[in-house]
Symmetry: C2
Subunit: 381 residues, 2 copies
């Protein structure tokens, strides 16, 4: 029996959460991790300490894997192309990953594929910005094309002067700039699909995602009060994107729901925070399906196991002994599922999440938020 | 945040399957494994290679853990008592574990606690055997008091001569002998509970367990067509045993159902094959609850997540490429959950299991058996 070897670039919590699925499936997981104590390095025996920006380290790591995939989207595309030239299976491939790495490339490709997006434009001059502001209205959104995540690299700007200052700084740092309309959305949705190299695609239920300061904080799966046709439309959109961009692995499509239409906000080509509910609420978690997809194995059912699952992130605050709080919330609620990432607590940092599955959304929200607030020290009873 | 450190003695699949639960809960798992390539050693970074029969190795390992627990029941009781004298938390403790290690001690304790057992007697002389045969009838069961598992150390004997020969061999090997009546059971059940040092107990649904050559092969959870009162009686029996023997961690009580009564067959004080269904079919798996129990944390809900889960073991046969067969059954059934133990295939060896959850038991049985038979090469279509 030949055990498949999947290499993950990056030792964060997404790589960590692939390990339970890998253990069950008999997959040998290895990780290229910045330190020996990163979240994933703690739980994966075959950890190689090295940087994804170090070509020699990356190459040596990748050549020992049947396929490589990612905890994050920061590996330089040219390195990935070079790995492919050496015969390494890179999934998602650089041809797809560049659309997750660069928001201008993403908007260009989606627009060409007929996918509805907010009004957008690359900004290189003041006059382009003035013209875009006249069309899209103020305030508007300024984004760096590359390098943003979790609300970083995104600014809501109310005036030309404010916008020009930020744009000047981005340009000075050698990055390109994207302006987008400020979409008057009523809620944010996420549509996740897994897609394999042989073209199989499965779509998870569309979820409602709530952000705090640009960081995903709460997810309800499936999204309540979502018209089935609208949900199917969002799933079809995610499948179209996965096919158009030839994504291998999990694709998360973050969406704005304006009440009358659905627009694409962001893409992520890896397991995503909006899918953590699937660890306890779906037949096949996003982590298992990511591994199955990058190995080109048949995909597992994305069907929910219960009527609804609510996920709430644990965002680091002033915490004492996390495991003492842990015992309290476990005693209070035997059905709550706590996931910790083994990370040191820093304010605002994602250190874990909780899931609750059941039939009554209000009850699930109350339970999940109580657990999260207690674990992060927001409340003490 | 102080990460709890749980040490597991033994590197088999039970230790391996604790690791996904440990990862989710942020528990640091370490394992004392006979080799660096044992099932659990493949997936637990903090693996110490050593023998549980080597006192110095065991002591050094245990002193670095907050609590130690077990993949198997073969650690000498005197070593465990010595560890307790050194201040190590041993769960289950040697005071409980001896009832799982020695069937005469187990029968003595259960009989004293008023728990219904098959007729039984320790046999030291021929006349005792003759007398027992007159009471219990022939054929009867001969068991070694210690060291048996998966059908090993158990004989059905039809005649006095046959029995005496086996008994002579067991005595010659320095072991004690137990005779039991051959119970005319209609089916076998298993009742599992988790119990913590502070005395909390949760009971899993009673399951139906089917053996092949003394090895658990199929489990249906919950047991179909089981009178709710009878099920509650079996759960109460398991809780009584856990309390009477002061078990910490998971306890599996294997039961004979004769149609008119329920009798205890065997005990196991660890996660058990009859509970593997819980990995995909319960809110809290037996592996998570075992860890929570030995850490004296509040226990998780043992409630099923679906109407029924069927588990079928993968028993090694003449296999070619397991992962190629794997792809076939994944493509055929996106809802089947496959668990592999990373073990080399040997005839009759447990190398994994499959779970299927849903509403129709016949459908689940058909699906789980097809997957198992295909994966083990019994069928090829």
């Amino acid at each position: 029996m030949s055990t498949p070897r999947v290499g993950v670039i990056g030792g964060g919590q997404l790589a960590r959460m692939m390990q339970p699925a890998a253990i069950n499936l008999g997959i040998h997981l290895r990780v290229l991790s910045a330190t020996a104590t990163d979240s994933a390095a703690q739980v994966i025996p075959d950890t190689v300490v090295g940087s994804h920006e170090d070509w020699e380290a990356l190459k040596a790591f990748a050549l020992e894997c049947d396929v490589i995939t990612f905890d994050h989207e920061h590996v330089p595309t040219e390195f990935l192309e070079e790995l492919q030239n050496l015969g390494v299976a890179v999934r998602p491939g650089p041809h797809a990953l560049r659309f997750a790495q660069d928001k201008i490339e993403m908007r260009t490709a989606l627009t060409a594929a007929g996918i509805p997006c907010p009004k957008w434009k690359e900004i290189t001059t003041e006059s382009e910005l003035v013209e875009f502001g006249d069309t899209a209205g103020w305030p508007l959104i300024i984004k760096t094309a590359r390098g943003g995540y979790d609300g970083k690299g995104v600014w809501v700007v109310g005036s030309l002067a404010e916008a020009l200052q930020i744009i000047g700084e981005i340009h000075a740092a050698g990055n390109r700039v994207l302006a987008e309309e400020l979409v008057p959305f009523t809620r944010e949705l996420a549509a996740q699909v897994a897609r394999s190299p042989h073209g199989q695609c499965v779509a998870y239920p569309v979820v409602k995602s709530t952000q705090t300061d640009g960081i995903c904080h709460e997810v309800i799966a499936p999204c309540p009060d979502l018209d089935p046709e609208r949900a199917a439309q969002a799933q079809a959109m995610a499948i179209t994107i996965a096919n158009s961009l030839d994504v291998h692995g999990m694709l998360a499509v973050e969406l704005f729901d304006t009440g009358t239409e659905i627009l694409v906000n962001e893409l992520a080509m890896r397991p995503h925070n909006s899918g953590h509910w699937s660890m306890d609420g779906a037949v096949t978690s996003q982590f298992e399906n990511h591994l199955r997809a990058v190995l080109d194995w048949p995909l597992g059912s994305p069907a929910p196991t219960g009527p609804h699952t609510v996920m709430v992130n644990l965002l680091g605050k002033d915490l004492g002994d996390l495991h003492s709080a842990f015992r309290h919330i476990m005693a209070r609620d035997p059905g709550i599922k706590v996931h910790l990432y083994g990370k040191e607590v820093r304010p605002g940092r994602k250190i874990g999440h909780v899931n609750a599955t059941g039939g009554n959304i209000e009850d699930l929200l109350q339970r999940a938020w109580h657990a999260a607030d207690y674990l992060t020290g927001v409340i003490d009873e």
